[in-house]
């Protein structure tokens, strides 16, 4: 999408991060995929000037980027908001060391929980660790602020928390691009008092970090990324991120203090701005992070009274807040929404999770599941999955359930390959050590599917397409001490069910691994997965709709009816991959493969 004459292109926020990394000389970039952050590394990987990798989890990604900045390299690590919980340990302790080569930590928060389990506001992490927090409000700012953040990071020897949100990550706006600037890598300079956080060293470094925060505070007062747009003196609005755009849209004549840096705040500058307006409002998405800091500093303001701390903001919510605050009158017609049939996400045609869950649910176990496509098994009609918390939780939770000996004859943990390698290994080691009588099913589809098909140490390829490790999950389990390991073909329902039944009844720790690849990713696998499609024989179909229970997008109601007037089923031959799961559940053998 480019107009080559003036180097103007339309970029998403994530693409703009990648472009910024390129232009401002980033050397090393790492991540574990997670919506809404995934496209950052996917785009960075297109620049051979930058070393980039998918790490097995966010903690490792953080540590790799940290090592790089210790060498003096310009580094970036990207993750979704909950990923920072995984990386919180190095994130916090690094505060006392610093980031000599520069380090940007991108936290892609998900207000509204478009595809996340919570909507925590990660700006608090910046305050927690004493790092500057930078928040862009469109793609051009994303790119520019990557440059500013690197300057801050190297000048103050501090990691920068670069906080984005789903709307910023995935909206596309115009960006002016330029050339890459190269920076030399200094190399690691031995200094144990800085790089080794022994208690004796750390106590000294904590004083240093406190002084650093003081200097950052002074910087925040002077930087032009915290800017005032003076218009009318009746209303003053302090805002940032996407909220800034909604404010400008709804109330273009208000005076606005736009914060590019939300921590530490330019308190003196804000105090003076507050004195120049009659009423001071704070409009920010999610928590009252800015508002609380202003109130602590005795600056009178209003914010969360009118704008909720729950969910994603929208132009409508910002407008309604202004109406509640008595600033604008309700002047437009109200919109009436139509109730229309929902389209919940379901397993793709050919998805290997379908057959596994169909077989498993028949045994009525308590299922602790995990984070990935397979979480969708929780939804009707499969309804297979009873708990889901965070990456890797399934195994530990299953052990706890088994040890507590409450209800549930069988306890089963279901976990994907990417999630298992992310944080299931230690849980499994513990389960073996505890001699827990649970069954762990690794849904091994050989890709990180939910986020759009990223490689991991089990796929045999790296982010840039080079050869990578193809970890053998069965051998890993064996090495961790698991005695019972079974491999099943999830396309064969009866065989899968028989194996599961035996393992569940064994009362021993057992690992069952499914062996079919994802039907969607990587795209080059699709041809391998695809067999001749199946069709419904109208002479045989009795309209019982048992095939609907496998919840396949290729199966729908046909126009034809049975003699008894029941609607028959139909299989879309374009969507069908020929996995045969529906044919196996049909009680009258009406579903057959096209010859």
């Amino acid at each position: 999408m480019s107009d080559k004459k003036n180097n103007t292109i339309l970029l998403s926020g994530n693409e703009a991060v990648a472009r910024g990394c390129y232009e401002f000389g980033i050397h090393v970039a790492t991540a574990y995929p997670g919506t809404p952050s995934t496209e950052i590394l996917e785009n960075i990987s297109q620049y051979p000037e930058i070393y980039s990798e998918w790490s097995p989890n966010e903690k490792v990604a953080f540590e790799v980027a940290m090592g790089a900045t210790f060498q003096g390299a310009r580094s970036l690590v990207a993750m979704k908001h909950v990923g920072l919980n995984v990386a919180a340990d190095p994130f916090m302790s690094m505060s006392l060391i610093g980031a000599p080569g520069g380090l940007i930590v991108v936290s892609a928060d998900d207000p509204g929980m478009h595809s996340s389990q919570n909507e925590q506001d990660n700006r608090y992490y910046a305050k927690f660790a004493g790092y500057p927090c930078i928040e862009p409000s469109d793609s051009q700012e994303v790119k520019d602020l990557i440059g500013v953040s690197l300057n801050i990071s190297t000048q103050f020897d501090v990691p920068v928390l670069f906080r984005m949100t789903t709307r910023i990550c995935h909206s596309k706006t115009i960006v002016h691009i330029s050339k890459r600037q190269e920076y030399a890598i200094k190399g690691f300079e031995k200094n144990p008092k800085k790089f080794v956080v022994l208690p004796a060293h750390a106590r000294v470094r904590h004083v240093w970090a406190a002084e650093r925060l003081q200097k950052l505070q002074e910087f925040s007062e002077k930087t032009d990324i915290n800017r005032i747009e003076i218009e009318n003196s009746d209303i003053g609005i302090i805002t940032n991120g996407i909220a800034y755009q909604y404010v400008k849209e709804i109330l273009p004549n208000a005076s606005v203090f736009k914060l590019g840096m939300s921590y530490p705040l330019p308190i003196k500058k804000i105090r003076s701005f507050a004195g120049s307006v009659k009423r001071l409002l704070v409009i920010e998405e999610l928590e009252p992070f800015i508002e609380e800091q202003l109130k602590t500093n005795a600056i009178q303001c209003e914010g969360k009274t009118y704008w909720t701390n729950l969910g994603e903001l929208s132009p409508e919510i910002v407008e309604n807040g202004f109406i509640k605050a008595g600033i604008i009158k309700k002047n437009r017609f109200s919109t009436v929404k139509e109730e229309v049939i929902p389209r919940p996400p379901i397993f793709c045609p050919g998805c290997p999770h379908r057959g596994l869950y169909y077989a498993l649910r028949k045994l009525k176990p308590v299922i602790t599941t995990d984070i990935g496509c397979y979480t969708l098994g929780v939804l009707p009609p499969l309804e297979a999955g009873d708990t889901c918390v965070e990456m890797g939780a399934s195994i530990g939770v299953a052990v706890g359930m088994a040890k507590a000996k409450g209800s549930g004859k069988y306890i089963v943990a279901t976990i994907g390959d990417s999630t298992f390698l992310h944080s299931g290994l230690t849980g499994l080691l513990n389960a073996v050590n505890d001699n827990a009588g649970i069954t762990i099913i690794i849904l091994d589809n050989r890709i990180t599917a939910m986020t759009g098909g990223q490689h991991h140490p089990g796929t045999g390829k790296n982010l840039t397409g080079s050869k990578g490790l193809k970890a053998d999950l069965a051998k890993i389990c064996q090495a961790l001490g698991v005695k019972r390991i079974k491999v099943v073909d999830p396309y064969r329902i009866e065989e899968t069910k028989a194996v599961l039944k035996e393992e569940l009844n064994s009362n021993e720790l057992s690992v069952v691994i499914t062996n079919r690849p994802c039907a969607l990713y990587p795209p080059e696998m699709r041809k391998m997965v695809r067999q001749k499609p199946f069709r419904v024989d109208p002479d045989r179909c009795i309209g019982c709709h048992t095939c609907f229970k496998v919840s396949c997008p290729a199966i729908s109601e046909s126009d034809q009816k049975t003699k008894k007037g029941l609607t028959q089923s139909r299989i879309d031959p374009v969507l069908c991959t020929g996995c045969s799961v529906c044919a196996q559940v049909c009680p009258v053998e009406a579903i057959r493969q096209v010859k």
Partner: protein
């Protein structure tokens, strides 16, 4: 073109909504406008509801269109037109592909695909144009160009020069693909 145009493109995952909104955005940039485009990724490929906001004007702030303020609603599916019609302003314009995509959940008793979604949209909005784009695309020889037919219809009220559209299609697609897409675009543009 008017000072500002807010266009909402809606449909079901896999219908090529994001490609259509990319093409539209690029055309608008070439015509010298500021453009913002917003959609949320994640569930799109799994049969879910997909919407893409495209805002075109001299200077755009919010990437999201406000409810009740869209100038044009481009719906790739009839029930989706109904789901999003509240985004349109009263004198807005709706383009609908008549081909229905009934979700599997419709087979459960609690759920019902709307009987006459296009008629329901007409009851609320005066300017509605519907077309069986999927069928017309097949007649042209490639069912995948249905989107481009719909973009052709949209191009008229938008008021950006035809040459910019055709140039952009040529740039974005291979030679063969561009030829049939330009045909599809013309077919849409000449609909009345």
């Amino acid at each position: 073109m008017k000072q500002k145009m807010d266009i909402l493109i809606v449909g079901v995952g896999g219908q090529g909504i994001l490609f259509a909104s990319e093409l539209l955005s690029e055309v608008a940039i070439k015509a010298g406008y500021d453009v913002k485009k917003s959609e949320v990724h994640g569930m799109a490929q799994r049969g879910g509801v997909v919407s893409s906001h495209v805002r075109i004007g001299k200077k755009i702030y919010s990437p999201l269109i406000q409810e009740g303020k869209a100038d044009i609603l481009l719906a790739f599916e009839p029930a989706e037109a109904l789901r999003w019609v509240h985004f349109l302003k009263k004198d807005g314009f709706v383009v609908i592909d008549e081909k229905r995509l009934v979700p599997p959940i419709a087979s459960q008793k609690a759920y019902h695909y709307p009987d006459e979604p296009i008629e329901s949209v007409r009851k609320r909005i005066l300017h509605v144009q519907s077309i069986n784009a999927a069928k017309r695309a097949e007649e042209l020889g490639d069912s995948r160009v249905a989107n481009t037919i719909l973009l052709g219809i949209l191009s008229k009220p938008l008021g950006i020069a035809e040459s910019i559209w055709e140039g952009t299609i040529k740039e974005r697609l291979s030679k063969d693909s561009a030829a049939i897409n330009i045909k599809a675009f013309q077919l849409g543009r000449n609909q009345t």
